[in-house]
Every structure is written in structure tokens, then in C-alpha cells.
Symmetry: C2
Subunit: 450 residues, 2 copies
């Protein structure tokens, strides 16, 4: 990676000096991912110029590594001929990825420059629901039939292999194109030439259907340690494959989405630095408003117990630490459960076990924190009314238990209601726990302090 | 996946009925990942019995899919002979994974039953730092030399291929075992038999070193869309490869760790349901204590402004909604920055741009929330002193701006200080913002209300 940093600086220097011949030579020998990174970071007015320094092959290779904005900017500016070169050389899933995000006029420009057969496939792919296995798959795979010999299969792979995104797993289809087996290239390679594919293949093929969610596909990859996963339609016909490098993107995307929801943000696919301020604000203001309005509940509760506060205004000073601790305790529980459910380690049927655990954890943490608070107050604030200290400590223990219980139940509840558990995280839990904490606090105060 | 659920139920039924012959037959034909799942869910006293129903091959295959607890329990109970069968059939990286977590007596039992050469390798691997590329790699890879022909290379692969974790990418070494090139099996397969490997190979091989962090390795996989990544030692000698399925595990692990830190938990590798209550409590209590103690700062601030509260006790009712909104606004900003840094989209050198964005977003959100609060109060609580409402609204705007700024600066600051940015998330930000929010609030109150 350090080597690449030096190359990068060198290229910038050549740009400044106008040493474009050097730049061109170097660009065309570099890794396409690095060329794409260089293009992305260039000022807009120079992107097209540098892109045109690339050879046809490099242009197509680098294009599939570019972010959507740069891709759109380039496709808008280049000729139909150049578009054709790129699309012809890209894997279908990369083309579809680009088109899913592109504005209609660019989709038109690309489809106009595509072979009719590919165009039909692209149109079909664009109709799969977003985030479905269908929208993620590619059609470049090797398929064989049962009766073929290993030798014949290897010949076939040699002939067509170069165009396929992966030739390392071959799929065996029956006459109706239904998936009946799978055979790794490794097995074909090591087998006697005359053995029939039918004898070499494994029959129980793990698969997903086009309409399955991409998270489901990722879960299958995780569980079975796969490198590629076949996708079938409603009639069990093989229509595509998903490769593991695309699954890495899915995992990153889904995790980002979870983290955004957990932080009370509307999820977005855009990179932070490339998102305009207004869009950032829009993604945040919704939850901030909802939470502020629901936070009013806490104000109303405090208002309702005004008389207690008037009697012992000292109590008010403990509100933030009590609600804060409750919120933290709840956030901890919800984060663990949300993550556990995302990795399929915790399921709704485990609710009772989870609740049991959380209540025990809550009791341990609550008692420790309550005691710690009592000790701290006795040493550092001996002047405070002991009954006030006792109220705070007892409330602290109770609030932590309740917060833990709510922190695990709300995400599981969301899952049961087919909502995304990730919204039941820190911010929402904190707001709910605030209100409950205040009720507990004032009720204990009214019996102990008054 | 549904089919598997039915099989699972069938197996449980056979267990109850004592139909072990049926069970054995079925187990040995199932996918090893499913067999491992079944074993994991069985009660402890039945695990060993069922494990012994497995054929030698299936026992070894299923073992590498098992969680650490079940692996340890089995290795403790089985004979040296059985241990040898498993270790002989596992890939080296899976063996090392198991040994890294195992107690010393089990490490001894395994090493005793390993070929001396493998034992040497294992010992070497166990010395790589945890979470380094070295601890993640496997030694099962194919290596060629420049002078070989493609035909000879294919012959070699046929002969040794079956034992290698991946034969799809072959590495070219010089006489001193230094990595000088890479050639995909696909290229060898499609090339003329007589072409020399030196002509087919690509020379600029992307690589990591044994001591690089696994996160670095994951970043390289992401950027270059790789399926396997070679690992070299300090002398550029090839010592292992990392395959992408292991990277998926790394990504999941690192994300879980980030989420745990972001929710003020000590990170842990254990699955939630398998972690004992005391350990869960231990992982949580540390941060809860730290945050409770720092939360005392807020209490002290409120205490310090007691005189203002005495004058206008109404102010107290707005404390939770103000600190709550500030905490939420800060959590949003920090979550975006932490995630952006984890994906390498935001770097410390972007600090000023990020701060600029966050202040603008803060101003937009802050003004909207302040206005919303004013409108809400005027309509629903016309009785409240207008100056109190104004204090709350102005504070709200100011607090949101400050919270956004702190939410982005603290994680970047942590990164600069070589700390994990993930600890500067929701809970910590909330606690800090609470104190700042109160200072802002009481200062504005003292000029407007008194």
C-alpha cells in the first residue's frame, strides 16, 4: 500500500507538469482499482481527460471500480462508442449495479449501446426487487450436463471460460435448465477424463431464489463457507450465481445500514464526504424531531411531580446521571441483541432465555452501581440528605434492571413485527428509559423523602 | 434452508427414538456445516455420542465448523487416535484458530498428535500477534517457478492440488522463495501448454506482511476485489495466503467489536447466548461505572446553578429533552464518522471538511428543532413563561451544533491518538454533551430568565 502512495504522488506531479505520456504509460500498467481511486480524487474537470488516456481494456476494468458519481459523470460525457466498449467488457452484475443508481437518460444511453441479448437480460435484472438475490447475481457462469465426460467438460471450460466471472464452480443442469448438481473445477481437473460429470457432481446443491433477500444470501455464505452461490427461479431453473466478493459488499452495506439505524439516522448508500449537507441534515432531522417530541414525555413527568421537586430540589441534580445510566444500560443490551440477531445467533424463539439473562445481568450491574453511588455520596457529599441518596441508589438499581429488560425485548419485538430490530437501539431506548426512570425515581422519592 | 429445518427435526426425532442407524446414515451424507449446527445444539451429554456416529471424513469436516466450546469439549473427551484423524484432515488455519482459544492441556493433546513438521508450523503460527495477517493465513497454497511451462504447472497442480485450500490462484517464487508473480489457474488452463509460467504471470502482486493487522488485510481485499491474498515475511518470502472466506469472518468480527465499543461494552468474541451472565455483567459494568461517575459532572453543574432553578423551577422539566436531543445529535455524527473511518472513506486529513459539514448540518437541524420547540410550547403549553421557552429553544439550537461538532471531532481525535474511534460513540458522547448542554442552558437562562 505504501508503494501505491508513492505512485499516486508521482501521478499528481506528472499531472501538474503536463507529463501525460509518462502518466498514460504508467496508468495502463497499474491495478485498475488504483486507477479508479486516482480518477475519483481528481477534480471534475480533469477526470474525463485522464479517463481518455486509458487503453480500452483499462478503461473498462477501471470503470467497474469507480463510485457511482464518477461513473455517471463519465458516461454523460463520453461517446456512444466508448460506452459500448465499457459495457461489452463489464460483467453483467457490475453493469446492473451502475444502472440501478443511474438517472434515466444514462440508462437509455447505456442500453442503446448494448447487444440486444444483453439488453434483455439487463432489463430483466433491473426488475428484481432492490436488495434481492436476483439483483445481486451475475449470469456469467459455467454450466454442464450430467452425461458429459470430465474431459469434455474441461474442453468446454477452456473454450468459454474466459468470459465467465467464475469458472471455479461449475453447475450441472438437466434438460429443462433445472439445477441438479455442482462440481468444482478442482474435481474435474483431478478426475479421470472419461468419468461422467454425473458421477462427479454433488447433488444437494445449496441455493437461493431470485426473490430471497441479500441478507439471506449472506447468511448462507457465512454458514457454509461458500465461494459462489447459485440462484434459481420459481421453477428451480438456474438463472445466475452470486460470488463471494459481492457478498463482502452486501455485508458492509447491511452493517452500515444497521449502524445508521442504531444511531437514529435514516440509512443512506452514499459515502459521507460525498453527501451534501442538506441530505445529511434531512437524514438526521426526522429522528431528532421524533425523539425530541417523545422526550417531552419526560418533561411532562417531571412537571407532574413538581411538588416533590419543590420539597427537595436536590433531587433534580440526580436526574441526568440516573437517566444517563439507564440509557447506557439499555443501549448495551439492545446493541448485543441487535447484533446477535443480525448474525443469526439470537432468534425470537430465544426471547425467554434472553430476558432471563438480561434481568440477571441487570440485577448484578444495578446492585453494584447503586452501592457505588451510595459509597460515593457518603464520602464526597456527606451533606446530602441520606434519604435522597437512598432514593437515588435504589432507583439506580431498579432502572438498570428495567432498562436491560427493555433493551432486549424491544429489538426482539421489532423482529417479531417484521420491523428492523436496528431501530430499537440506543437513541430510542434512551428516550423510553428516560421516562420510565423518572417514574421510578419520583415514586421511590415520594415514599422515602417526603 | 427450510429443507434443512425438516431434516433437523427428523434427526431430533430419531435421537428420541434411539434410531441411531438411520441417524448415522443421514448425518454422514449431510453438509458438514449442518452437522456441526446439530452437534452444537445437542445437550452436552449427547454430543460425544453423536460425534462418534460420524465417519472419519465427516468428523474432521464437521469439526472445523464447530464453535470453540464444542470443539474443546470433544477434544477433551476423544482418544489420541481420533484427535490425529481430525488434525490430519483440517486446514492449518482452522487448527490454529482452534488452538489460539484452547486451554494449554488441549493444545498439548493436539500437538502431541500432529506430525512434527506440522507441529513446527503450528508453533510458528501461534507466535504471530493476535489479529495479524500471520495468524489468519494458511500454508496450503500452490507455488510454481518462472521457468516451468503451463503444461508442467497443470501437472503439478493435478498432483498436489487436492490438499491445498485454494488452487485457483498460483504463486510464482524465485529461488529464495521470494514472491515474484501470480498466475490464476484460469490463465494456466487457457494457455498453450508450452508457454512458460514467467510469461503468463502478473508481476505486481498485491501482498501483505505477516505482522500487518487483519483489518488492513480486509481493506486490501475490499479495494482490489480479491479472492486470495499472499502473505510475505520481512524478507519478501511467501509464507502463506489468506482466503476471502476468512476475511468475511474478520469483517464480521471487527464490525461486532465496533458495535460493542459503540454501545459502551467491552468487546468479546463469544456468542451472546453462550456467554455466562457473570461475563456479560463484567463486560458491561466497567463502562457503566465510568459513565456514571462522569455523569456526576452533570449533577455538579445542576447543583452549581441551584439558585437559578430555585427562581424558575420550570426550567428543570426541560433538562431531559435538552440533554437527550444533544446526545442524539452527537451520536448521529459520531456513528457516521466512526463507520466512515472503518471503511476508509473518512481519514484524519479530512477533519476540517468534516467539521465544516457537521457545523452546517448542526445549524440546520438546530434551527429547525429550536423553532419546532417554540411552536410546540406556544400551542400546547401557553402558560409557560415565554422567556423559559426562548431559553430552551436557543439552547436547543446551540446544543445541537456543539454536539455535532464534538460527535465528529472526538472519533477523529481518537484515531489520531491511535485509539479505536469506536469508543467515542453514543454513550461517551452523550455523557460529555450532557455536561456541555447544561452549561449552555443555565448560562442562557441566567441572562434571559433572571
Amino acid at each position: 500500500m505504501e508503494e501505491w502512495n508513492e505512485t499516486y504522488e508521482q501521478w499528481l506531479e506528472w499531472m501538474d507538469q503536463g507529463a501525460y505520456l509518462n502518466l498514460r504509460e504508467d496508468l495502463n500498467e497499474e491495478n485498475p482499482a488504483n486507477v479508479a481511486e486516482f480518477l475519483e480524487e481528481l477534480p471534475v474537470e480533469k477526470k474525463l481527460f485522464v479517463f481518455r488516456l486509458l487503453s480500452r481494456d483499462m478503461a473498462a476494468d477501471a470503470f467497474s471500480f469507480l463510485d457511482n458519481d464518477t461513473q455517471e459523470m463519465l458516461v454523460t460525457s463520453i461517446s456512444d462508442n466508448e460506452v459500448r466498449n465499457i459495457v461489452d467488457n463489464m460483467f453483467l452484475d457490475d453493469t446492473v449495479d451502475f444502472l440501478e443508481e443511474a438517472p434515466p437518460e444514462l440508462v437509455g444511453k447505456v442500453l442503446r449501446n448494448t447487444h440486444p441479448e444483453t439488453r434483455k437480460l439487463i432489463n430483466q435484472f433491473l426488475h428484481y426487487p432492490e436488495n434481492s438475490a436476483g439483483s445481486l447475481m451475475t449470469v456469467e457462469f459455467v454450466h454442464l450436463n450430467e452425461a458429459m465426460t470430465a474431459g469434455r467438460a474441461m474442453e468446454l471450460i477452456r473454450k468459454i471460460g474466459l468470459d465467465k466471472e467464475t469458472i471455479y464452480t461449475c453447475y450441472v443442469l438437466d434438460r429443462k435448465n433445472r439445477l441438479i448438481g455442482v462440481v468444482p473445477l478442482r474435481t474435474l481437473l483431478l478426475a479421470d477424463e472419461k468419468t461422467r460429470v454425473g458421477e462427479l457432481m454433488e447433488e444437494d446443491v445449496i441455493r437461493v431464489t431470485t426473490l430471497d433477500d441479500q441478507e439471506e444470501a449472506a447468511a448462507v455464505f457465512r454458514k457454509y463457507s461458500l465461494m459462489a452461490l447459485p440462484v434459481v427461479d420459481g421453477e428451480e431453473r438456474l438463472v445466475g450465481i452470486i460470488t463471494i466478493d459481492d457478498i463482502v459488499d452486501v455485508i458492509d452495506e447491511e452493517t452500515t445500514e444497521d449502524m445508521e439505524k442504531m444511531a437514529a439516522l435514516l440509512p443512506s448508500d452514499d459515502e459521507y464526504l460525498k453527501t451534501p449537507v442538506t441530505k445529511l441534515a434531512k437524514n438526521r432531522i426526522v429522528w431528532l424531531c421524533v425523539l425530541m417530541i417523545s422526550g417531552t414525555l419526560s418533561s411532562m413527568i417531571i412537571g407532574g411531580y413538581q411538588s416533590i421537586l419543590d420539597e427537595a430540589v436536590q433531587l433534580a441534580t440526580f436526574i441526568p446521571v440516573l437517566t444517563g445510566t439507564g440509557g447506557n444500560a439499555g443501549s448495551q443490551a439492545s446493541a448485543m441483541i441487535i447484533r446477535g440477531m443480525a448474525l443469526d445467533e439470537v432468534r425470537p424463539r430465544d426471547s425467554l432465555r434472553v430476558l432471563g439473562k438480561e434481568i440477571q445481568v441487570g440485577l448484578i450491574c444495578g446492585m453494584l452501581l447503586g452501592t457505588l453511588n451510595m459509597v460515593k455520596q457518603t464520602i464526597f457529599s456527606p451533606a446530602t440528605n441520606v434519604m435522597v441518596d437512598l432514593t437515588v441508589s435504589i432507583s439506580m438499581g431498579a432502572v438498570v434492571v428495567v432498562a436491560k429488560a427493555m433493551g432486549c425485548l424491544l429489538p426482539i419485538g421489532a423482529k417479531v413485527c417484521k420491523l428492523d430490530p436496528a431501530i430499537m437501539a440506543g437513541p430510542l431506548i434512551t428516550t423510553v428509559v428516560d421516562a420510565v426512570a423518572l417514574l421510578i425515581f419520583f415514586n421511590i422519592a415520594s415514599s422515602l423523602v417526603l
